[in-house]
């Protein structure tokens, strides 16, 4: 579904992503892990279009999207969340979802759907997502006034509402407690069951190892391992990469628990 072919992104002399090959398969949950600064977020930004690759190709559903601007990639069906929540905080919960709906159609009908439709039109999909997010009771609350966990849920819902087949989740569990992470786990599975493909960038190893079908490990902008969670956990290179980093204990614990 999504293929990164030898993709690099250099910032001056820093090779944030360096010759990365990555294949995301239809309907899977792919975990993208690695120590801090290993290029995970850069990869997400490359896929969603906020960065242009220095070299290489990004192919989505058979189309080379390397040069497409961000909003067109989103309209093609790549939705994302952000490491630091980025909601439209002065818009209501409902408006956040409504603004992110991707309307299609050509001619006058398409123009009307995209620009002129009132909040009543075509709200079915958004209504379902609102229910999925569990925020029905807060539909008119300003997003900025929601509690932290609710904001995370709304951001996930906003990514899902477009109907995008590919969701990029950039550290969705950051700052969450165990209960909220369990809830997130269920939601990610539910999204996959709807037929979505999920790329999960995460530091929380328990979540990654539990929910992902496959895991790819980055270090210094390169992919050092890829495979099923238990394979990756026992990989020598992966252990070496995490050794001495804060994430090491978590990885070890997760490995022991598994």
């Amino acid at each position: 579904m999504l293929e990164l072919r030898n993709v690099s992104r250099h910032f001056g002399g820093v090779k944030a992503v360096d010759g990365l090959d990555l294949n995301v398969r239809q309907g899977e949950i792919l975990g993208l892990i690695g120590p801090n600064g290993s290029g995970k977020s850069t990869t997400v930004n490359l896929i969603s279009g906020l960065y242009q690759p220095t070299a290489g190709q990004i192919v989505f559903q058979g189309e080379d999207i390397s040069a497409l601007p961000t909003h067109l990639r989103a309209q093609r069906g790549i939705a994302r969340t952000f490491q630091n929540i980025r909601l439209f905080s002065q818009l209501s919960v409902w408006q956040n979802l409504w603004a992110a709906r991707v309307e299609r159609g050509s001619g006058w009908a398409g123009f009307k759907a995209r620009w002129l439709a009132g909040a009543d039109q075509g709200r079915e999909q958004a209504e379902q997502i609102l229910e999925f997010s569990g925020l029905q009771g807060k539909r008119d609350v300003l997003a900025g006034n929601l509690a932290f966990g609710e904001q995370r849920r709304l951001e996930l819902a906003r990514a899902a509402v477009s109907g995008a087949p590919l969701l990029l989740l950039d550290e969705p569990a950051a700052g969450m407690n165990a209960e909220e992470i369990e809830d997130l786990d269920q939601r990610i599975r539910a999204l996959r069951d709807q037929g979505r493909t999920v790329v999960l960038i995460e530091h929380h190893m328990e979540l990654v190892m539990g929910v992902c079908d496959r895991v790819a490990v980055l270090n210094f902008g390169r992919k050092i391992a890829e495979g099923r969670p238990e394979e990756v956990q026992n990989d020598e290179q992966v252990r070496a990469a995490y050794l001495g980093s804060d994430d090491n204990d978590e990885l070890m614990n997760a490995a022991l628990a598994a």
């Binding site: 969603s48 279009g49 906020l50 601007p69 961000t70 909003h71 989103a74 309209q75 939705a79 994302r80 952000f82 490491q83 630091n84 929540i85 980025r86 909601l87 439209f88 905080s89 002065q90 818009l91 408006q95 956040n96 409504w98 603004a99 992110a100 991707v102 309307e103 995209r114 620009w115 002129l116 439709a117 009132g118 909040a119 300003l142 997003a143 900025g144 006034n145 929601l146 509690a147 932290f148 904001q151 906003r158 477009s162 550290e171 950051a174 700052g175």
Partner: protein, 313 residues
């Protein structure tokens, strides 16, 4: 009585100007180009009626459309710059427009003699209202009918998708793009609609004053334009209207007896309003400055703490 009718005319024209800036500000762009669009509308509408005998309606329509087209043309390059650089770029545009009209001479012979823009001497004889025996009250009613029409239009826009998309772009461009919103479409459409409204305001202004010159369209006018929605708050259109009444009615006219001291108090009052109501007159709930808050921790202080819940992570 004439004084108050005149004041209402001025407030109406400035309301339109403020509403034009409101559109652009919604997409997070601080534009000082609104004075330029206003000037284009003023000259174009004036020329059409005074030089070529057009009816007022047609002249205003063409003035608004042309200003809108110019605004779209300005909106595209403006996409490349943000924040302060956008302020500088749009200021430069407004100055270019002003200097073009400073040098613009084109007069034609009419029944009233030679009429048309005369460079630095300005453009007089825009006497459509006088020739057609409109009373001051009628002019005032025309202006306010148009204000009401524009407000209704913007009110509806704000309730359709376009208004939501404008606000989304104004809130967070990165998130908006990632949600599939075209920044170009949102920002340029706001520029275009705002420009057309400014052009309409300019056309009313030139017919109301009968004489315009480049000096009417300085940076001060653009500053007023942007001050109205900022002072009034972006949440509602009524805020912009209230700000115009406050600035034009209370500050500019009401403090006239203070002579030169007026400007000083003018600035101080705006500062005070922004301090007590940082979200604008009709924006967030009343909030006392932190220094007062510490002394008496009242319930209203707590309730009014800004609820910015975005940057936890």
């Amino acid at each position: 009585m004439d004084f108050y009718i005149g004041l209402l005319q001025v407030i109406g024209v400035h309301s339109l100007l403020g509403l034009s800036a409101w559109c652009v500000l919604h997409t997070g762009q601080v534009s000082l180009a609104q004075g330029g669009f206003f000037a284009i509308g003023a000259y174009v509408a004036g020329m059409l009626t005074a030089m070529f005998g057009w009816p007022l309606g047609g002249a205003l329509l063409v003035a608004a459309l042309l200003s809108g087209v110019v605004a779209v043309a300005v909106g595209f390059p403006a996409l490349r710059v943000k924040g302060l650089m956008l302020v500088v770029a749009t200021t430069a545009f407004a100055e270019i427009v002003r200097l073009v009209f400073f040098n613009f001479k084109w007069q034609v012979q009419t029944a009233q003699g030679l009429v048309g823009p005369d460079g630095g001497l300005g453009f007089g004889g825009i006497r459509y209202f006088q020739s057609n025996a409109w009373s001051g009250v009628q002019v005032m009613l025309l202006i306010w009918t148009l204000v009401a029409g524009v407000m209704l239009l913007l009110w509806s826009l704000d309730r359709t998708r376009i208004g939501t998309l404008w606000r989304a772009v104004g809130e967070d461009e990165v998130a908006a793009q990632s949600a599939g919103i075209s920044l170009t479409a949102a920002k340029v459409s706001a520029f275009g609609i705002g420009g057309a409204i400014a052009g309409l305001a300019g056309g009313l202004f030139s017919h109301n004053t009968t004489h315009i010159e480049h000096g009417n369209f300085t940076i001060l006018l653009a500053t007023f334009a942007i001050a109205y929605p900022i002072l009034g708050g972006l949440k509602s259109l009524a805020g912009t209207l209230l700000a115009v009444v406050f600035i034009q009615g209370v500050l500019v006219e009401g403090l006239r007896f203070l002579g030169d001291w007026r400007s000083l108090l003018f600035g101080a009052l705006i500062l005070l309003v922004m301090l007590v109501r940082p979200g604008g007159l009709l924006g967030a709930p009343l909030r006392w400055p932190a220094c007062l808050c510490r002394k008496n921790k009242t319930a209203s202080c707590h309730a009014a703490m800004p609820a910015k819940g975005v940057s936890h992570a």
